[in-house]
């Protein structure tokens, strides 16, 4: 492999890792901070992708506005969902959480089938992102992929800022470590959790919307993403945003180079990585520091 190819593969790895981070960050918020095993997280990703498919024609070239509207819709959806279902789960055992969130997967898949059908759909990238740039003589790289990476970096920075530097972030962190104490201090913990959950759903849906033009929109797409997201969250340390970022990039690299060098074994690469890291650090790379 020459240097140019190697550099392009590095770009591929980072790019895949960042997209993984976007989905996994929502999961680590919900799983880590609220303590709910949310199997339906992949469905939120799917909802986002189908949302992009449904509303893209309304916005034309105004792609960014579409993302904003989509995120707001998803957040409202998450807020309602927390009120209706998830708020009853915090004090329950993990088994009951798994049962209910698994049931939600089935419900979302069936709704998707009824509303949109079982066909595969594509979403066109907006004109101003549709081009591609030449990477030397090797190949061209779609501008949209670079845009997706940039969007992921922006979200990562914003998340880091909110969780670690703002009052809301402080309350979230406090709520994660001692729910009763936070309530004792006069903070409406139920509302706080509702906001965190809505944010988690919005992040997954945003990832789905950003991924839609790159991939396609198809039945079962959420389930494929769910497993790899749990791997990222567990490697990174449950509840840690920074950990999720590092883990996503690691998984992206292992997956990318695994496919190139060890094609036959590439399916197990990320799981071997997970096993090694868990032996070394049973709580994941970044143990929750608060």
């Amino acid at each position: 492999m020459d240097l140019a190819t190697f550099l392009v593969q590095c770009l591929n790895a980072v790019q895949y890792g960042l997209l993984l981070f976007l989905v996994a960050s929502g999961l680590t918020l919900i799983f880590g901070i609220m303590g709910v095993i949310n199997l339906a997280h992949g469905s939120f990703y799917m909802v986002g992708a189908y949302l992009a498919f449904a509303i893209a024609p309304l916005f034309g070239q105004n792609f960014l506005l579409m993302l904003v509207v989509g995120v707001l819709l998803a957040a409202a959806f998450g807020y309602a969902l927390e009120w209706a279902f998830y708020s009853y789960l915090y004090q329950r055992e993990h088994l009951q959480q798994v049962l209910m969130t698994y049931a939600l997967i089935l419900v979302f898949e069936e709704l998707r089938s009824l509303l949109v059908g079982n066909d595969v759909h594509g979403v066109a990238a907006p004109q101003w992102l549709a081009g591609s740039i030449e990477l030397g003589a090797l190949m061209s790289y779609p501008v949209y992929r670079l845009f997706a990476s940039a969007a992921c970096i922006v979200v990562a920075l914003a998340l880091y800022y909110v969780v670690n530097r703002t009052r809301l972030g402080m309350m979230i962190r406090a709520g994660a470590s001692n729910r009763d104490m936070v309530r004792g201090l006069g903070i409406d913990i139920r509302r706080l959790y509702r906001i965190v959950f809505a944010a988690g759903v919005a992040l997954a849906a945003l990832a789905g919307m950003i991924a839609a033009p790159m991939s396609s929109v198809y039945p079962g797409m959420g389930n494929h993403v769910l497993i790899i997201c749990f791997v990222v969250v567990v490697i990174g340390g449950i509840g840690s945003i920074t950990g999720a970022l590092i883990a996503s990039l690691l998984v992206g690299a292992v997956d990318t180079f695994g496919k190139v060098f060890f094609a036959e074994l590439s399916g197990i690469g990320v799981y071997v990585l997970m096993a090694i890291i868990l032996v070394w650090r049973p709580e994941g790379l970044m143990k929750r520091s608060y």
């Binding site: 020459d2 895949y16 797409m221 990318t256």
Partner: protein, 389 residues
């Protein structure tokens, strides 16, 4: 002198037997084991509609026998396949099994059919083994083997003068079998496959492998993906700028039912399959018209395969005048029949897989249009089949 009760019994028996004669035999039980939910639900419905359309065209009967349907949703789940097929074989006592789409499920059905000696007609699943190592006198297929479209595309790619090719697919049976077919056809024509790329099913992160293709610069790429994976691969291949420099080929599944989602990325792609959307033969046109009239939908390759499954069963029953008990003669007739399929006439190979023309098609708009016959009357090699007919 005969007592009265005996007389009535006799009369009743006579009446009954004449009635039975008029009505023919009891209905033939056909067990449809198809996916009615999940990703392949649409395919399952198409196959069922195709099957029922042929029976409907024959006046609701095959060789004078009424058809009674039993349905099981196989969910395309191989782990439930044995239970599901036994529902039809043991609970419903069906005479004929028809199914299915997913190769893993179909292999379990073939195993159950061999053990219980039930007649099985496979209307889609392409796993080579069904008419290879698993072949049996009572197992038939009206679709294709994974090897067939792959081999035909290999022949075409070699004819186009390509020398070095790469293949890319999911690392599972269907992908590996079609790639094997391609390699065989391509290398027979003087080409060389320099590298096989695979990724685990159903992973759709292709970028790393596309970079590998760009770095190796082959003359051609042969790809097998289906559904969402096919859409993403074709779009990614185009977005990476590879379509301009390295021609992409594949079996029909790369562009079947996905052209709308693939948009401009797929236009002009050449694929091989045993059916094309605009075969202008009277047989195909009347079939498509009838299908559209009955189901308010456009027929596709799956509908054709279901339709031909019913034709094959009909041919066997006709040979024994509807007497299902003359099994050996019926199976023999099914193996020797020539099916007037909407795709074109085809016969059965010794291993009971269609010997058929494989077409070269080009993606235009939302149709895969017929271009030429890639390979005439292509027979699957039926590797591992130990059945003598």
């Amino acid at each position: 002198m005969m007592s009265m009760p005996r007389l009535t019994t006799l009369a009743a028996a006579l009446a009954f037997s004449s009635l039975a004669c008029a009505q023919g035999q009891p209905p033939l039980k056909v067990g449809l084991m198809l996916p009615y939910t999940g990703t392949y639900a649409a395919l399952g419905n198409m196959i069922e509609n195709g099957f029922k359309l042929y029976v409907h065209e024959q006046g609701g009967k095959l060789a004078g026998r009424e058809i009674q349907y039993f349905k099981v949703d196989d969910e395309s789940d191989p782990s439930k396949a044995t239970d599901n097929v036994n529902k039809l074989i043991k609970r419903d006592n069906v005479d004929v099994l028809v199914g299915t789409v997913h190769s893993g499920v179909a292999l379990a059905m073939a195993k159950a059919a061999r053990e219980s000696n039930t007649l099985l007609i496979v209307p889609n699943a392409g796993a080579d083994a069904i008419t290879g190592a698993m072949c049996a006198p009572n197992i038939f297929r009206t679709s294709f083997s994974n090897w067939q479209p792959g081999y035909a595309m290999g022949v075409v790619a070699a004819q186009k003068g390509h020398k070095r090719a790469m293949t890319i697919t999911w690392n599972y049976a269907a992908g590996n079998e079609t790639v094997k077919g391609f390699t065989e056809g391509f290398e027979k024509g003087g080409g060389k496959v320099i590298k096989d790329l695979t990724l685990p099913f159903p992973n759709v992160e292709f970028q790393a492998l596309l970079t590998e293709i760009a770095a190796q610069k082959p003359d051609a790429v042969y790809a097998f993906f289906a559904g969402g994976g096919a859409v993403k691969f074709v779009k990614d291949y185009d977005a990476a700028g590879l379509r301009k420099t390295i021609p992409l080929y594949g079996p029909g599944f790369l562009t079947d039912g996905t052209l709308e989602a693939q948009g401009t990325s797929a236009q002009g792609l050449l694929t091989t399959l045993h059916y094309a959307d605009n075969l202008e033969t009277p047989r195909n046109e009347s079939f498509r018209k009838n299908f559209a009239l009955n189901y308010k939908a456009n027929a596709d390759v799956y509908a054709v395969q279901g339709y031909d499954a019913a034709q094959l069963l009909g041919a066997g029953l006709t040979a024994v005048k509807g007497d299902f008990k003359q099994r050996d003669q019926m199976l023999y007739a099914m193996g020797k029949t020539v099916i007037g399929s909407p795709r074109g006439k085809f016969a059965m190979s010794a291993a009971h897989n269609p010997v058929q023309d494989i077409y070269l098609r080009e993606a235009k708009g939302v149709n895969n249009e017929y271009r030429s016959v890639a390979v005439k009357q292509l027979a699957d090699p039926a590797k591992g089949c130990k059945m003598s007919q």
